[in-house]
């Protein structure tokens, strides 16, 4: 089983790529198939983009904390930024007719589609802390 990871990342797109790769690799080691791993990777990418771009606004002075906790039956990923946080209940539904043609705002929908549990709360630094859990189904 892969080990726990707890790391601080810069607020840039390279961090998005590396976080995604780290999580996909951990998912593979836990036995998730390629499609499920890709789904999880996309969810992590979307959460990281939210943290880097919307939370920390690419600030070189702000970090994103990434925590990976592999378990026998799941992979738990926590991503925390130093932005202002957000209320999940106040995020517009991108599939609603009035939002359908917007050029953005679909990331949270994809995260919620591709993980089994998704929670949002205020991070210790006051920003958003999102937790994604993907179940590992054994044969």
């Amino acid at each position: 089983m892969p080990g726990t990871v707890d790391t601080l990342l810069e607020s840039n797109l390279e961090s998005v790529d590396s976080a995604e790769a780290l999580c996909v690799d951990a998912a593979k080691q836990l036995g998730l198939d390629e499609d499920a791993g890709m789904d999880l990777g996309l969810a992590v990418r979307e959460a990281m983009v939210n943290a880097v771009a919307h939370g920390n606004k690419y600030s070189p002075n702000k970090k994103v904390r990434l925590v990976l906790e592999p378990r026998a039956d799941s992979l738990r990923i926590t991503i925390a930024d130093e932005g202002e946080g957000f209320d999940l209940n106040r995020v517009p539904d991108p599939t609603h007719s009035e939002n359908l043609m917007r050029g953005s705002g679909r990331g949270l929908l994809l995260i919620q589609t591709f993980v089994d549990e998704f929670t949002v709360k205020k991070s210790a630094a006051g920003g958003a802390e999102v937790t994604l859990v993907k179940y590992v189904i054994s044969d």
Binding site: M38, E46, P94, L100, R102, G103, R106, L109, L110
Partner: protein, 114 residues
Amino acid sequence: MSATITTRQVGDVTVVDAAGKITLGEGAALLRDQVRSLLGAGNLKILINLGEVNYIDSSGIGELVSSFTTVSNQGGQLKLLNLTKRVHDLLQITKLYTVFEIHDDEARAVRSFS
């Protein structure tokens, strides 16, 4: 694999062949720049071939929507060709599948432009 965007002319339709990753940063920006450039040159019939796009995120999807809107607002038409299963599924999830005119045969797609 990073993104590549190339164009070719088939009659009066411009086919945009996209490949690789269409994500925030390089891929989505490349697609946006290409579509804006085509519009600037007066090309109003645009067919985006996504057959070699193996990965797209919400920014890439958003760029397809923005491009569709921009082209439509200028009196043009933007259609999609050869969706991979992954792109197809994401357009279903985001309920955009019925927004775009989608084809799986290039010759028919080209003929469909008015």
